[in-house]
């Protein structure tokens, strides 16, 4: 299995993501600087969290327009799996790989806490490690995770199994519509989510609920 972690200036959970992929797969991912000429031939491309370009425009907007995103878009169209977490999710939305928008949290404050997630669609390459409807623990840490889309888009996402994760048990931390925490593209090879499964993968983190996302994914693309 081969994976790559894309790094833009200002991202800061790249090290957490690299550690998670390495610990779970036994192999370190390729680390690709956004200006590198080549995007290696991999099965999984990950855009980690952070504050690309300081989030000084809309979150993810500047990174979404950088040349490497054209390459990532082409790979996604060719079926390569793409995972965006937190700022990575915001970048995928700004780049048009996923629909909708991520607005400022309803509290208007940054929020870092543990929430519960329902695995809304376990029949995808990303979520196969979980049972349908399983409730898992997962931390969030973001300022702009309030997912929104027009009602037609929401109906399509819901009807088409494109909602991968939903905040459960009243733990929606940001006001997202339909408690949406993570969504897939139509083809279900691109996943974006606000929570950080990479920060709950070993006993030292106080739990391992995030692990199955990576282990399920990495086994398939082996």
């Amino acid at each position: 299995m081969k994976s790559a972690v894309i790094v833009f200036p200002g991202l800061n959970r790249d090290r957490d993501m690299i550690a998670a992929l390495t610990k779970i797969s036994g192999t370190a991912p390729a680390v690709v600087w956004h200006q590198d000429a080549d995007l290696p031939d991999v099965d999984l491309i990950v855009i980690p969290g952070g504050f690309s370009y300081g989030d000084y425009l809309r979150c993810g907007a500047i990174a979404a327009r950088s040349p490497i995103m054209d390459k990532i878009r082409a790979r996604a169209e060719a079926g390569v799996k793409v995972l965006g977490v937190c700022n990575g999710f915001q970048i995928l939305i700004e780049a048009g790989l996923l629909p909708g928008a991520l607005m400022r949290n309803m509290s208007l404050k940054f929020v870092c806490r543990e929430v519960k997630l329902e695995v809304t669609n376990a029949a995808t390459d990303f979520t196969r490690g979980y049972a349908q409807g399983q409730i898992i623990r997962c931390p969030v840490a973001h300022h702009d995770g309030n997912y929104f889309a027009d009602s037609e888009t929401i109906a399509r996402l819901e009807g088409n199994g494109q909602v991968a994760f939903r905040y459960a048990e009243g733990t929606n931390p940001n006001g997202s519509i339909n408690d949406i925490a993570g969504i897939l593209n139509d083809r279900k090879n691109v996943l974006g989510l606000m929570p950080h499964p990479e920060n709950l993968i070993e006993s030292a983190h106080g739990g391992t609920d995030g692990r199955a996302l990576f282990s399920g994914l990495l086994q398939q693309v082996a």
């Binding site: 200002g10 800061n12 504050f51 300081g54 000084y56 806490r113 840490a141 920060n199």
Partner: protein, 742 residues
């Protein structure tokens, strides 16, 4: 443009620069002529209280700063302590009080940025942050605005930079109404053979400017920070710097990348007094002169004068001396990170600090004298008056359950969740204990078992009542909080926040606190390796509570042995380790007296340092042996609050009825020092517990069995049982309601 460098230096101009007439005379005597306008600015930057420590230096010298693990004590950007395996922890705490009061978001954010820069300037990657915040009374008109701005500012900076905030303090007191305190702490990890210092070496080498461009923000900031506030504070808003955590994050990565190339000889961040202070320090430490050419300084505003460039406190900037043959390689690193890189000067052998601008020499000063000859004062001081003990029968009565619910849901003890959920507490994936316990704990990345513990402590109301005992107590409490996780306390940083030192009673507080801190540090082998002094914390002549904040760092050899404050199970024995024979008796200066009866009289509880050390070492041993299952030290609110916090953290109740027959109030709410609540999983009737008591007795430590865990209520003596859910609701309720204005 014309720049009037040679203007008449009037007494008013001197005073506007925060310099006293005799200080100005000293300058004239040192350089043998009137200074130029630029030179006056440079002197004011170097000789203000913030940069020169002129009032505190005499007393700071008395603090213990050495120890077998200390690699670098005070004097560099941060202290460095050996943690074995060729690794070291680098840490410091620093205040950003005045800017945060004037502009809370930017003031607190740049305070965080400054301390992070101090740590990575030494080659360390920041791995943990804390902040100690003190605000005015909850009902003061500015308090909520300041809390919300400061917390958002710290979060905005630290979260984007990517360091977990693992601990801190938030307190309210009317004495901070006009002058809040924002003390920021950061720690980083470095290999002991890759530590970078600020001492320049070698003549004719390039002095390189790195990072963000220079603007007019913060001009005169350090001088502003060295004066009292009056009614004109809003006019000082332009002296507050504006933070850019995105640039700081790039600067971190670029600096660490550059250091790995071997190009860096010396490095100094531009903090207070910016380019002036960093250039002078690098040269003076290395016995070298520095020549700067301001035409090469990257600027973001037009028509900046030399005076402004020398005094700007624009953030996210570094100054380095580089190996000339590596300059191209170094430049490539900074180009990659899209940061400015400019050779702005060179080292010289003439010990002069020369500043050139548009072909003119605008300053030419003796570099060593700028630092070394700064005034040092032995300011007059008077010892703080000691208050007499409260009469033994002076115990205001209240129902124990009512008192506990009021305190646990009050502003002093109420949960700080509203604050710390705005901080990223888990980034980097190493946080083992996040805010809410006795200390924050992180794993040492890459090591299988080691972890570091961090705590920040001071009790300003104790310091007000007795600065010496308060200083001792602050150190002891930090040491105790580290111990309570199972860590070996290593060393500390001090952030001394006081009023105007020109008033003998304030100077007396500073002297008393430093004496107490020093004594405790010696007794506990807990040296001070870095620190910061913030004086003139006054508004319209009214000083803050004396607040010597202590940031402590400890090392856990094996984090699998770590304990937390939450009860670990039902039916476990609760011991009060370090208890006096009467369990507890000291009510003066307790929050029971202050918050429930508005009483602020009497002395603070004394700390017996020898007993403190024996007790802590014994508790740590119980933790390491796996006998202790949960540990919490007692502080504000005494035994009742300590038990409630352990119950709330676990959701498990406790029955604590084995108290003495004396008045329960001092036993439950007294703040006697050196006590820990320890739960153990031993049979209370068995031989092992007898052996434990025998060992404690031999050490002179009292460790009575006061009750057991279990159930859903907290039962204290004869008081009505309180459901843990009710305690939790009260505890979690105060902060959100306060901030919502309810």
């Amino acid at each position: 443009m014309t720049y009037q460098n040679h203007i008449a230096i009037t007494p008013k101009l001197v005073a506007d620069h925060g310099l006293k007439p005799d200080e100005f005379e000293k300058i004239v005597a040192l350089i043998g002529r009137q200074p130029t306008y630029t030179e006056l600015g440079i002197f004011s930057a170097m000789w203000n209280e913030h940069c020169s420590y002129k009032s505190s230096k005499k007393w700071l010298k008395t603090l213990p700063t050495n120890g077998p693990r200390v690699i670098q004590g005070p004097g560099e950007n941060a202290g460095v302590v050996d943690i074995g395996d060729g690794q070291a922890v680098v840490f410091k705490m620093e205040s950003h009080n005045h800017p945060s009061f004037i502009e809370p978001y930017q003031g607190a954010g740049t305070g965080m940025g400054g301390i992070l820069r101090d740590v990575f300037t030494m080659g360390a990657r920041p791995v943990a942050a804390m902040n100690a915040l003190r605000f005015g009374a909850p009902d003061h008109e500015k308090t909520r605005h300041l809390v919300s701005g400061v917390v958002a500012g710290i979060g905005g900076y630290a979260n984007a930079f990517g360091v977990p905030t693992v601990g801190g303090e938030v307190e309210f007191d009317a004495r901070y109404n006009g002058n809040i305190l924002v003390n920021a702490f950061a720690a980083g990890l470095v290999d002991t053979d890759k530590i970078f210092l600020s001492e320049a070496k070698g003549v004719g080498l390039p002095v390189v400017y790195l990072g963000a461009k220079t603007g007019r923000d913060g001009v005169g900031g350090a001088t502003m920070a060295s004066a009292e506030f009056g009614d004109d504070i809003d006019e000082k808003r332009p002296t507050v710097q504006v933070g850019d955590p995105f640039t700081e994050k790039r600067l971190l990565e670029a600096c660490l990348e550059l250091m790995a190339t071997g190009a860096v000889i010396a490095i100094q961040d531009m903090g207070a007094a910016g380019l002036t202070c960093s250039a002078v320090e690098m040269g003076a430490k290395g016995d070298l002169g520095i020549e700067l050419n301001l035409d090469m300084v990257p600027v973001r505003e037009t028509a900046m004068t030399p005076y402004e460039m020398m005094l700007s406190e624009s953030q996210e900037r570094m100054l380095m001396v580089l190996h000339p043959e590596k300059e191209a390689e170094a430049r490539a690193v900074f180009v990659k990170w899209e940061l400015d890189f400019a050779t702005v000067g060179k080292t010289t052998d003439d010990l002069r600090f020369r500043v050139m601008w548009q072909g003119e020499e605008v300053a030419n000063l003796p570099i060593k004298d700028l630092g070394d000859e700064a005034p040092e004062y032995d300011r007059p001081w008077i010892e703080s008056k000691k208050s007499s003990m409260l009469a033994e029968n002076d115990v205001p009565q209240m129902d124990v359950a009512d008192a506990l619910l009021a305190l646990i849901g009050g502003h002093q003890i109420g949960s700080r969740r509203w604050v710390y959920e705005q901080y990223d507490t888990l980034i980097q994936g190493n946080s083992l204990q996040r805010p809410g316990g006795d200390a924050g704990v992180i794993r040492v990345d890459g090591h299988p078992t080691k972890a570091l513990a961090f705590t920040s402590d001071v009790n300003p109301r104790y310091c007000e009542a007795d600065p010496y005992e308060g200083g001792k107590q602050a150190v002891a409490e930090a040491w105790r909080n580290l111990t309570a996780t199972g860590a070996d306390p290593l060393a500390a940083t001090d952030n001394l926040n006081f009023g105007n030192p020109e008033r003998p009673e304030i100077m007396g507080q500073l002297v008393g606190a430093i004496k107490g801190i020093g004594e405790a540090c010696i007794a506990l082998d807990f040296p001070i390796v870095s620190g910061n002094v913030s004086l003139y914390n006054e508004t319209n002549g009214k000083g803050i509570l004396p607040t010597p904040t202590i940031g402590g760092v400890g090392l856990l050899p094996d984090w699998s042995q770590m304990v937390r404050i939450a009860f670990a199970g039902e039916n476990q024995v609760i011991l009060l380790v370090g208890s006096p024979a009467n369990r507890g008796s000291h009510l003066a200066q307790s929050i029971y007296m202050r918050d429930l009866f508005d009483r602020k009289d009497g002395p603070p509880p004394p700390v017996d340092l020898a007993h403190e050390r024996r007790t802590g070492d014994f508790v740590r041993k119980l933790i390491r042996l796996g006998i202790a299952t949960a540990v919490h030290d007692l502080s504000d609110g005494g035994l009742a609050v300590g038990l409630a916090e352990m119950a709330i953290a676990s959701g498990i109740g406790a029955t604590v009825t084995d108290i003495t027959t004396a008045d329960p109030i001092p036993q439950f709410f007294g703040e006697d020092q050196g006590r820990y609540l320890v739960t153990i999983n031993l049979d209370p009737q068995g031989e092992e517990i007898v052996a434990l008591w025998d060992e404690a007795k031999a050490l002179g430590i009292h460790a009575p069995w006061i009750g057991s865990t279990g159930g859903t209520d907290l039962v204290l003596g004869d008081a009505r049982p309180i459901p843990v859910s009710a305690l939790k609701a009260a505890h979690e309720g105060w902060f959100p309601k306060f901030m919502a204005g309810e």
